[in-house]
Symmetry: C2
Amino acid sequence: MAFDAIETPFGKVDSIIGGSAIYVAYAASNFVKPVQQVSIVGYDFPAEEMAELKRRGVQLEGVEVIPDKKSFFWSGRYHEDMNTRDTLITDLNVLADFDPKLPDSYQGAEFLMLGNLQPKIQLSVIKQLKKRPKLIVMDTMNFWMEVAMPDLEETLKQVDLLMVNDAEARQLTGQFSLVKAAKTILQMGPKYLIIKKGEHGALLFHGDDVFFAPALPLEEVFDPTGAGDTFAGGFIGHLAKTGDISFENMKRAIIVGSAMASFCVEKFGANRLKEVSMKDISRRIEQFKELVSFEIELV
Amino acid sequence: MAFDAIETPFGKVDSIIGGSAIYVAYAASNFVKPVQQVSIVGYDFPAEEMAELKRRGVQLEGVEVIPDKKSFFWSGRYHEDMNTRDTLITDLNVLADFDPKLPDSYQGAEFLMLGNLQPKIQLSVIKQLKKRPKLIVMDTMNFWMEVAMPDLEETLKQVDLLMVNDAEARQLTGQFSLVKAAKTILQMGPKYLIIKKGEHGALLFHGDDVFFAPALPLEEVFDPTGAGDTFAGGFIGHLAKTGDISFENMKRAIIVGSAMASFCVEKFGANRLKEVSMKDISRRIEQFKELVSFEIELV
C-alpha cells in the first residue's frame, strides 16, 4: 500500500494511492469478502482510503501503521508505447523495515496472494500460517532474481502458482522460449505458472496443459500501473469465491483477472476499479468470450 | 517464387525455395484446388519444385519463366529472439521487370490473394480480372508505405481485406493503438483487417467486431521465414474451400491459417509444409481449440 506519482502521455498525477496490495484488494473484493490485507503504511496514508477499503470488505488488522514514517512512494514515467516505463523515484520509507506479523484472525485463510516483495518476506508470511492454504500464489520481479536469487528459489519451493511476466520468466530460467521457460519453472516448485504478456495476454501452464487468455484490444491504455496486480486480484478473487482450484476453473479465473486488468488501465491508479460494478464486470467478461470464441468442424 | 538463404540460431541454408507465392500455395493447396499461381522465376528455378507444386494442384500457367535471368534472391539472418532479422542481400533479378499477365484460364477466380509486392502490380492483377472476385485479400509491407504510398492507397481502395503486421498497421496510420489503427484502415478501403502479431497471435477487425486468435506457444521456432504468407495461404484456402466469407467463417479461417503457420516455423523454408497431412492439420487445429476454450457462467 503506497503512494505513486505517475506520468503517461495522457497526463500525470503527483500522488495517488497504489501498491500491489491496493490493486489486489480492489480487484479481489468484487468476488470474495473478507480480503485480509497484510501491508505497512506511514502516518500519511489517508484515513478515507482505509475507510473505503473497509467498506469493500477489506480487513486491515494486518496493516501496520508507522506513526513517524512515510508510506512507500514510487514515481514513474511511461513511454509513448505504454509498455515500458522509467522509474524516477523509489522511496522505501516504511517498507525498509517491513516484517509482517500475521494477525490471529487471518489464520485459516484458504487463499494466499503474495504480492511482489522480498522473497524472504513472502516466505515469512507462508511460515506464519499454521494451516497451509489451499492455494498460494506468488508474484515476483527481475530485481529479486538479481539481488536475492537463493531466497527466491527457496520461496518458490513453497508456492503453488507463480505469476511473472514474459521477461521475468526468461530471466528466471535463461530460456528464451516461453514454453521451455515454463517447463523449467514448473520444476522449481510451483505446479502452476502464469506468464503475463501485457497487451498480448497471459498463458497458464500446468503439466502439459496450456491455456491462453488474450488481453482485450483497447482503444486507449490510459495508465498501465497496477494492471498486473489487478489481474492477480481478479484471478485469486474468482478462485476464492468458487473454492475450486482445478485447471478448468483457473482458466475462468484468468479471464476474470484479464477483465479486471482491462478496467484498471482505463484511469489513473485504482480509480477505475473503485467505480466498476458486477454488471460492468460481467459485460466485460462477455466481451472476452466473443473475442476468442470460434466454432470449427475438424476435417 | 524465389530463393532464400536463411540463417537462424539453429542453423543455416544457402539456397532454399521461398517467396510469398510458394508459402501461400503450399498452405492453400491443402484446402482448395486448383491454386492458380501468378509469379515470375528465372532459368534457375528447379523443375522438380514446379513438378511438386503441380502435383499439389497448383497451376503454373501464370508463372513466367525468364530464360536468361535468375530468380529473386533474398538472404537474411535472424536474431536470437527470432522476432527480428537483418536482410543481408536482396537481388531482385527477374522481379525487377515483373509485369504479370493473367492467363485467360484464371478468369473467374473467386478468391484473390495478393502477396506482398509493389502496390501497382497488385492493382494490375485486380484490374485484369473481368469479374470481381468474391474476396480480394492483400498483404503489404512498410517498404511500400515509404516509397509508394499513393499507389498503396489506391490499391487499398480495391481490396476487401488487408493483412499486415502490428508495426505496419501502426506505420500505415500513425496510430499506436491497434484498435485506433484498425478503425483508420477500415476507412481506407478494406472492409476487413487482419493484424498479425507473430508469436502473439492475430486480430481480425470488421466494423465493430473483433476476433483474436493466439499463436500456438511453441517450444522452438526453428525458422519464421514465410510464416505470415503461410498464415495467409491457410486463411484464404479455408475461405475458398468453404466459399463462405462471413465473419464467423473468417474466424475459422484465421485458426486454420495460424495452424498452418505453426507448422511452417518448425523447419527451414517450406520443408515442413511439404510434409504435413490433413490429419496433422486437424490435430493442430484441435490444439488451438484447447488453448483458448473456456466455459464461464456470468454473474
